[in-house]
């Protein structure tokens, strides 16, 4: 049986859970200094599962707090809106999208995406771009893989076999089997989920930034390369993907200038994994 084409694949989007309302709200509030914390706290408190995850993660994310964080409001006061948003988004993704197939380990995907998110935040800071939007785009950049695994598990198993047995790159293997790749599928899913335009474009652009005009896509593209190079959540057959000279030049990123951040990136990544028990 042939795998679905891109249009048919999008028809499977309803088969995977959509993002919770509070997560959509948070994504649209990123880097918004006027975001209404009272409304966010109210929305968070309506979802006990998210509150539980938030409190567990918030107490792990704090350096030696004198008192434990025991409410969503206190988490905002101590950690700030950006870190709370990162925790909630991460927890929601982990809780909702853990199912894979016998051949696909969703936890490996999430470890990778958390690594890309941390790298994207640091690269955005270095480029004077919005770090929290970059973090979120990094966290969501591979949602296309979830859709492909969910919509065509047998076909995606062939992709994974080409990678593990014949050392194909993920893009080449996806093109061989599906005729398109997870960045294209992810961009379409982001549109379907009505994510902000810049995040949807970044997801679509992250492997081929030269075909787009997306600064955020270029940041995620370089973050992807850095996360692979630092081996953050990387499997044994990990490989650094292609890195665009054009994207590096447009952002003004020189890797040797970022070396002083590498140790900090690894520690931030470890902190997130501990906080979210990933």
């Amino acid at each position: 049986m042939n795998p679905p084409d891109l249009e048919e694949l999008i028809g499977h989007a309803d088969a995977i859970p959509s993002l919770p309302e509070i997560v959509r709200h948070l994504i649209h509030s990123l880097d918004d200094d006027l975001a209404d914390v009272d409304t966010l706290v109210h929305d968070i408190n309506a979802d006990p599962a998210i509150v539980g995850r938030l409190l567990a993660a918030a107490n792990s994310a704090a350096f030696g707090l004198s008192a434990r964080i025991d409410s969503a409001r206190q988490a905002f006061l101590v950690l700030g809106i950006n870190r709370v948003s990162a925790i909630i988004l991460g927890a929601a993704l982990l809780d909702r999208y853990h199912a894979g197939s016998p051949d696909f380990d969703a936890r490996l995907l999430w470890r990778h995406t958390f690594g890309v998110a941390v790298c994207a935040r640091v690269i955005a800071e270095a480029c004077d771009e919005e770090p929290e939007t970059a973090f979120t785009a990094g966290l969501l950049h591979d949602i296309g893989q979830l859709l492909m695994v969910s919509g065509a598990p047998a076909a995606y198993a062939r992709v994974l076999a080409l990678q593990s047995e014949d050392d194909w790159s993920v893009l080449a293997a996806e093109h061989e089997v599906f005729g398109y790749n997870h960045a294209q599928a992810g961009g379409r899913l982001a549109d379907y989920w009505r994510l902000p335009r810049d995040i949807a474009e970044a997801i679509a652009a992250h492997h081929e930034p030269d075909r787009f005009d997306s600064t955020l896509g270029e940041i995620v593209h370089l973050a992807e390369a850095l996360a692979h190079a630092l081996d953050l959540g990387g499997p044994p057959n990990n490989r650094v993907p292609a890195v665009s000279d054009r994207a590096s030049a447009r952002l003004g990123v020189r890797w040797r200038d970022l070396v002083s951040h590498f140790g900090e990136i690894e520690a931030r990544y470890d902190g997130l994994r501990i906080a979210l028990a990933l």
Binding site: S60, A61, A62, F63, G64, L65, S66, V78, L79, G80, N82, R83, A225, L226, H228, A229, L230, D231, G234, N238, R239, V240, A242, V243, S244, D245, A247, S248, R254, W255, R256, L258, V259, F262, G263, E264, E266, A267, R268, D270, G271, L272, I274
Partner: protein, 106 residues
């Protein structure tokens, strides 16, 4: 005694450790200078300022033979990660990672 700088997330930083790299706030100002001994009040304050990782000094007890093995393993892993052809930017990333890993293992 030889020391080294290690970056740690919250939960792995304990009062009594010595800060190795200054903590700089988002406004570019120094929040805490290198050399300060961390105490619970200071750590609490850093959390509230959004700090997510700290560099501390620790005694480097690794022997030269162990370091040499780790350097060789790091070089081999990086060769594996960067297998295949790539752009100039990819080669620069490889060079930066290699220099950093080897510096960490001196």
């Amino acid at each position: 005694m030889k020391t080294r700088t290690v970056w740690l997330p919250p939960g792995r930083v304990a009062p009594g450790m010595t800060l190795a790299v200054p903590v700089i706030g988002r406004d570019g100002k120094t929040l805490l200078a290198a050399g300060v001994t961390l105490d619970p009040t200071t750590l609490d304050r850093l959390t509230r300022r959004g700090v997510e990782a700290l560099a501390v000094s620790e005694i480097d007890a690794r022997d030269p033979a162990e370091l040499a093995r780790e350097r060789a393993a790091s070089e081999e892993r990086l060769r594996h990660l960067f297998r295949g052809e790539g752009s100039d930017a990819r080669s620069e990333l490889h060079a930066a990672l290699l220099a950093w890993r080897l510096e960490e293992l001196q």
